[in-house]
């Protein structure tokens, strides 16, 4: 698809326009600014659900079931399956679509697999812009799914309105989660495979861990589900709705939205500044020479910022 058609394709509601725009975001192409500012609803934000949990907890199956429920309410749903592992030479195998087969041909559902390849500073900047694009394209709900194995779930929680942590009985997840500090990011706990022995015990463990934590205005509910049997999915969504209502009522929704925008702006500044710094360091003999002489970076960094001045914005993003 020729790049010049991107805006037209996107506006016409062609899925390829959206898909390509997300690729540009993944590549950190600064020209995405023009696309988003050129759209009437470029600032429309979808509701964002974050899903995280250890491998094998059945996240994808749960997401699949949730998508079905949301579709019954005729909401347009996008799933971003984020794989934080990018081993070997930048390649990746992304296999999360498999569990969402039955939505494969539903035009109201968009599924996109994202690798972590090449994302400086993690996934958050690219993911945030992808969410923005999905909102502008007309999706009502965006589900961010990531395996909870490191940094990525914290980034997901920072972007999502409601973060669901998925656990299963008997895997000792509870303990792992506390160690990883993941308890703090949960707005809703889902104990999936709740028909397995040990489900009650797992729920009890979470409950007692929560009771040891600080008193918060929102107390994360614990919902049992069996995604594969389609059981408990309504309850999960009901818990999400309650959390959303709480965010609105408490004013936290507005606070979070503002904080997110500030993060986004700060991240953009950092990204743009970094790009210009690189350029000067590689191309400007004066800066490079100073660094060689000093052998300590502070003065060079100051010089870069002073010299770049108002020219920090990358050319492709300038208006």
């Amino acid at each position: 698809m020729p790049e010049r058609n991107l805006l037209a394709e996107f506006k016409a509601g062609n899925i390829r326009g959206l898909a390509r725009a997300i690729s540009l975001v993944e590549q950190r192409d600064p020209s995405v600014r023009h696309l988003l500012e050129g759209l009437a609803n470029g600032a429309r934000r979808p509701r964002v659900l974050g899903f995280t949990g250890a491998p094998g907890t059945g996240k994808s199956t749960l997401v699949d079931a949730l998508v079905s429920n949301l579709r019954e309410s005729e909401l347009r749903v996008a799933v971003l399956a984020v794989d934080p592992n990018s081993p070997y030479s930048g390649g990746a195998i992304l296999g999360d679509r498999i569990r969402m087969q039955r939505h494969a041909l539903d035009p109201g559902v968009y599924i996109r697999s994202m690798g972590a390849r090449g994302h400086l500073g993690g996934l958050s900047v690219a993911t945030r812009e992808a969410v923005r694009l999905l909102g502008a394209f007309g999706f009502d709900e965006v589900i961010l799914e990531t395996v909870g194995v490191g940094q990525s779930e914290l980034e997901v929680a920072a972007i999502a309105d409601t973060t669901l942590v998925v656990l299963t009985p008997g895997l000792g997840d509870g303990v792992q989660m506390i160690k990883a500090g993941i308890m703090e990011i949960a707005d809703v706990f889902v104990v999936n495979k709740a028909d397995l022995p040990g489900a009650q015990k797992t729920m009890q463990e979470i409950r007692s861990m929560l009771s040891m934590g600080p008193k918060l205005s929102w107390r994360a509910p614990i919902v049992g589900a069996s995604a594969i049997k389609g059981e408990g999915v309504d309850e999960v969504l009901a818990a999400v709705e309650r959390h959303r209502a709480h965010l609105e009522a408490s004013g936290e929704a507005a606070e979070r939205a503002e904080a997110r925008l500030k993060d986004e702006a700060a991240d953009l500044v950092a990204e743009w500044a970094r790009a210009q710094a690189r350029r000067l360091l590689d191309q400007d003999e004066a800066v490079a020479g100073r660094l060689r002489r000093d052998r300590i970076p502070y003065a060079a960094a100051e010089e870069i910022l002073t010299r770049a001045g108002g020219r920090l914005v990358p050319e492709a993003a300038r208006t």
């Binding site: 094998g56 994808s60 195998i93 296999g95 498999i98 569990r99 087969q101 594969i228």
Partner: protein, 550 residues
């Protein structure tokens, strides 16, 4: 009697070995599965102990005291293509040429439990086997073949119960008694989840159907082999020999456990569980695998499950030469490969054997290539002399050592599977799938780096351009004819009876204590199609989607 080498003699050999020039071609001297091979095996290598004898526990040397001196293996060529009428003609051709048992290959829509007129059957009908939609097709398939007198093997899994019922219904129409029927149903759903991936229902209801058929046959069709527990597909998916052995036997034990849980008695069903292995190109490793399989099964059945009947302890198996070892390059060479593999099966003591046709890597076998494949077995049986003595390799230092190692490797895998809580949890966690994918990838890399050579593929390729080989093609009109046939069957039948049978089956499926076999048999007799019968069960059981293990 074992000859023992004096220490000095062995040391002298070792000196000479080390002094001798070594090959510098970089080709690995490990088995195809990667096991290290000693340059020499002596009487010190195999475990010392009383000499084993054929026909005696633990049957390492064979389940019959007389081996092939008593009875040759059954030459059973797997065949099926296009329509029931076409395949019926091929069966008659093979029987006329001296084949001694039938083996039915079904096409993909049949294997996946759907009718020929389903949208996703397009382009698949009759390609990998014969298309069977209803009892009507099954009647055509066995026209003129007295089922009371032949033995028939049917390679089908998810819908196995349905196809077995069709077979029983044909026999019924021929006037044969169920008690007379001889044959084997593959019916091995576990290896589908592990390797071949032709699953339909989730594991739990799938196992219920397997146990239903075992229970039913134990009573009604006592000479029928109810499950052919298969390593073949596990191996073809890229496993090592030890993985094939371990995962297959673990599956076997899982079926035993499921039957015991149902309340069946071990000696009432275990004698009718059979095995099906791959014969790959690594000659000695394969022989060791077959011998170890018998030993492991006998030991577990006796010591773990308390089987009393000797027939429960005796592992009987069918073998097929390795489809994956065939090359598209210089396909005539496949005749030689298949002969070597078939020989390993015979020396391993197989009960029946399928030899691949040389052109199977290119498409369906022609009459000529199918005949050459059968003739290869006949050469082994009647020309080569290998059937002349029982277990000719028993006591071979090398073979005995490999057999011991196979057994140990399998036992180690059993422990790892147990740690998951059994075969089904291990499948759901993707354990076996991952082991197999790793082995397949490793093997492919060894080929790329030429640590392993395959003639005509990564070495000795001169002559590859000359390939001109006739390929059997399925005329597109057969597909349309089959579609019309199934629609005609649906039009012609007693609609009320068919609808009632499906409703009854659906109701029974929802009640876990019902054995579904009689309900399926009724539906088959009423000319319900395979797709309708499977569909009724899907309504209750649901469909399974696997998690990707790459």
């Amino acid at each position: 009697m074992k000859v023992r080498y004096a220490k000095e003699t062995f040391a002298e050999w070792q000196r000479q070995f080390e002094a001798a020039p070594k090959r510098s071609d970089g080709v690995s001297a490990t088995t195809v599965s990667g096991a290290e091979i000693e340059p020499l095996y002596t009487s010190a290598s195999p475990a010392d102990g009383p000499e084993e004898l054929p026909g005696e526990f633990p049957y390492t040397r064979g389940i019959h005291a007389a081996g092939y001196r008593g009875r040759l293996w059954t030459m059973r060529q797997f065949a099926g293509f296009a329509t029931a009428a076409e395949t019926n003609r091929r069966y008659n051709y093979l029987l006329e040429n001296g084949q001694t048992g039938l083996s039915v290959a079904f096409d993909m829509p049949t294997l996946m439990g759907q009718d020929s007129d389903a949208p996703t059957s397009r382009g698949e009908i009759g390609h990998c086997g014969v298309a069977i939609d209803s009892l009507d097709d099954m009647e055509t398939l066995f026209r003129g073949i007295p089922l009371a007198q032949v033995s028939t093997s049917m390679t089908i899994n998810s819908p196995a119960a349905v196809l077995l019922c069709m077979y029983l219904a044909v026999a019924e129409k021929q006037g044969a008694s169920m008690k007379q029927l001889n044959g084997t149903l593959q019916n091995d759903i576990l290896k589908e989840f592990i390797a071949q991936k032709e699953f339909i229902f989730p594991p739990e209801p799938s196992m219920r159907l397997v146990v239903d058929s075992i229970e039913y046959c134990a009573k009604e069709v006592p000479r029928w082999n109810t499950v052919s527990i298969s390593g073949y597909h596990i191996r073809e998916a890229g496993s090592t020999a030890a993985q094939e052995l371990a995962f297959t036997l673990a599956d076997g034990f899982a079926y035993v456990d499921a039957c015991l849980e149902r309340g069946l008695k071990i000696d009432d069903f275990a004698p009718r569980l059979a095995y099906f292995f791959d014969a790959h190109i690594d000659f000695f490793e394969e022989i060791a695998k077959f011998r170890a399989a018998r030993r492991i099964w006998a030991r577990h059945l006796r010591d773990r499950y308390g089987a009393q009947d000797e027939r429960s302890l005796k592992l009987r198996f069918h073998t097929q030469t390795a489809g994956v070892s065939l090359t598209a390059q210089q396909p005539e060479l496949n005749v030689a490969r298949t002969a070597i593999e078939a020989l390993s099966a015979v020396l391993g003591g197989t009960q029946s054997l399928h030899t691949n046709a040389m052109d199977e890597v290119l498409g369906l076998p022609t009459d000529k290539s199918a005949r050459i494949a059968l003739r290869t077995q006949q050469m082994l049986a009647f020309e080569s002399g290998v059937a002349n003595t029982v277990d000719p390799l028993g006591g071979s230092y090398f073979v005995e050592a490999l057999t011991d190692r196979m057994e140990a490797e399998a036992e180690a895998y059993f422990e790892r599977i147990d740690a998951y809580g059994g075969v089904i949890p291990a499948i759901e966690a993707g354990f076996m799938q991952k082991e197999i994918a790793d082995a397949a990838f490793r093997h492919q890399q060894e080929l790329e780096t030429r640590q392993r050579l395959i003639v005509g593929v990564n070495e000795f390729t001169a002559g590859n351009e000359e390939d001109e080989i006739e390929i059997l093609r399925i005329p597109p009109r057969l597909e349309q004819e089959q579609v019309e046939r199934v629609r005609e069957v649906r039009r012609r039948r007693d609609q009320a009876r068919a609808a009632k049978a499906v409703t009854e089956l659906r109701k029974a499926a929802a009640s876990p204590s019902e054995n579904l076999m009689p309900y399926i048999l009724d539906a088959v007799r009423a000319y319900c199609t395979e797709g309708e019968i499977m569909g009724a069960m899907v309504d209750v059981f649901g469909l399974y989607t696997e998690k990707a293990v790459i």
